[in-house]
Symmetry: C2
Subunit: 343 residues, 2 copies
Amino acid sequence: MNDTFLKACRGEKVDYTPVWLMRQAGRYLPEYQAVRGQVDFLTLCKTPELAAKVTLQPVDILGVDAAILFSDILIPIEAMGMHLEFSEKKGPVLSEPVRTKSNVEKLIVPDTEDSMSFVLDTIKILRRELKVPLIGFSGAPFTLATYMIEGGSSKNFLNTKKMMFQNSGLFNYLMKKLTKTVISYLSSQIEAGAQAVQIFDSWAGALSPVDYKEFELPYVKKIVSALKKQHPDTPVIYFANDCAGIIKEAKKSGADVIGVDWRIDMADAVKKLGKKVVVQGNLDPCVLFAPKEHIEERVKDILFKGESAKGHIFNLGHGILPETPVENAIAMVEAVHKYGKKE
Amino acid sequence: MNDTFLKACRGEKVDYTPVWLMRQAGRYLPEYQAVRGQVDFLTLCKTPELAAKVTLQPVDILGVDAAILFSDILIPIEAMGMHLEFSEKKGPVLSEPVRTKSNVEKLIVPDTEDSMSFVLDTIKILRRELKVPLIGFSGAPFTLATYMIEGGSSKNFLNTKKMMFQNSGLFNYLMKKLTKTVISYLSSQIEAGAQAVQIFDSWAGALSPVDYKEFELPYVKKIVSALKKQHPDTPVIYFANDCAGIIKEAKKSGADVIGVDWRIDMADAVKKLGKKVVVQGNLDPCVLFAPKEHIEERVKDILFKGESAKGHIFNLGHGILPETPVENAIAMVEAVHKYGKKE
């Protein structure tokens, strides 16, 4: 069992910097495409044998130090009572956006065992198969709220912010339901066998720091502290995307590891995070389209800057892009392992 | 003549904090819609009487302290030899994206007098009509390059970054042509009567700080220093969008004023910019959908934080949204004038 990733999460001494990639089980892999060619995306998420299969693929192909459950951040939204579809063109579509009090009232706080047992079954299969730690995950409340209120992806998050500014009571009511859902969902994943969890806050960076502090941070804090109470030994990673303006606040979430995107220099991130949290990140996914020597240079630069943190888990600053050449992802992982060796 | 804006640009003492809004001549105004209903967007940009008319509208309606030339950042790209169209759905479409050496070779460095005289004519009309200073503008080289290489808007800027990483010689060749174009274009605008210029770097924030330093900052520096040499008294504003991770670098551009988006706290921005540059910004455009008391609170907060800068020009952190209620934009301007009064 390779436990380098878990050690790094805890800030313990490691032999080398561990690495995994956000969306490492994904479309850039022909092996994934082969499985995905047979079923639609949601069916893949909901069929434990297939979800486990694609989760395992990058572990062998790339040689990463952790696996992340194959699923989608919107799965719990469906379980809360919304109708979810994935369109090839538009991405996720939630047919009746949440805009009114009665919309929020109708949403339930789902029991994972009841309505998302496929996630727990996938985790159980994976724990039997894996030789690296398994990361469970959920979307963060604000990020989930944007999809629910906008009805899908968004450019300006105008409807979300309208609700925040015009009816903060209703917004907070929704956020409370989401917070309960995320706590219960992640807790169940840990109980089923997830050895670490990551909270994906893909849209946190769309908030001004003042709004982030008021409308998202308190909920993330609540999730982290509830998880820490129930599962004190399970590391919690909080990935706040486009975090440069809010990283000092994101640190207050209480997460063991803060994941950072590529728009902040790793040296700057480490300085702001201080010595109490581990950092994860942060290569621009587009660097994987560069020649290998260039990839190596960038890996070395980030490793060097990550050295002064409490701990460093190498990752991309965002999900790997579907067009990425597999050999370049492999080259990145090899470079991390080569240049991330500790004396 | 109200010269508060120009004084603030120079860091001189002012009676109150001046204010203007990015995209203040735009779709949220029924008066603009009335003009735009008669002609398509590009024709509006290219008809001096109409472009001047819509430039003037917000000055009267909102009571702002500066006007900005009505035009589009892609105008010089068309003059460089590309075919430009605006589609209602997709936004700008440049039919033959720049990808190869011969694509770049074919591009010309346009003479503003020859191919964009409508811009200069608009400026001349405006200077006769305006009682507030007129801001000219251009896109920044990287931002213009993304449109040219992607063929329009983009999510990940993958083609742009591919060229940067795979063929930096070609990328720099394109950037040099763009830099020359921007210098000549802004210089002509100043000579025609623009009293300040703003360089819009809408996509600077998509670059990692390391790439920003290598692939964009040197060109912006070159533009600013060329303009300062030719027109030492004309203030240069550099708006770097999503700047939280690159603001210390952006400061090195040499611009008199750094415009910042809403994803960085104004106090943080001022701290990073120090005492040598003036700051512009940075209210989240979505705050204009809040009740007026809330708008006032946010205005006060930003004014208070902007106090410690060399100077502060109030603005939104990005362009005003088409759905914005006009009365809320007016309320914002009034709040800036009321609470931004100096003792």
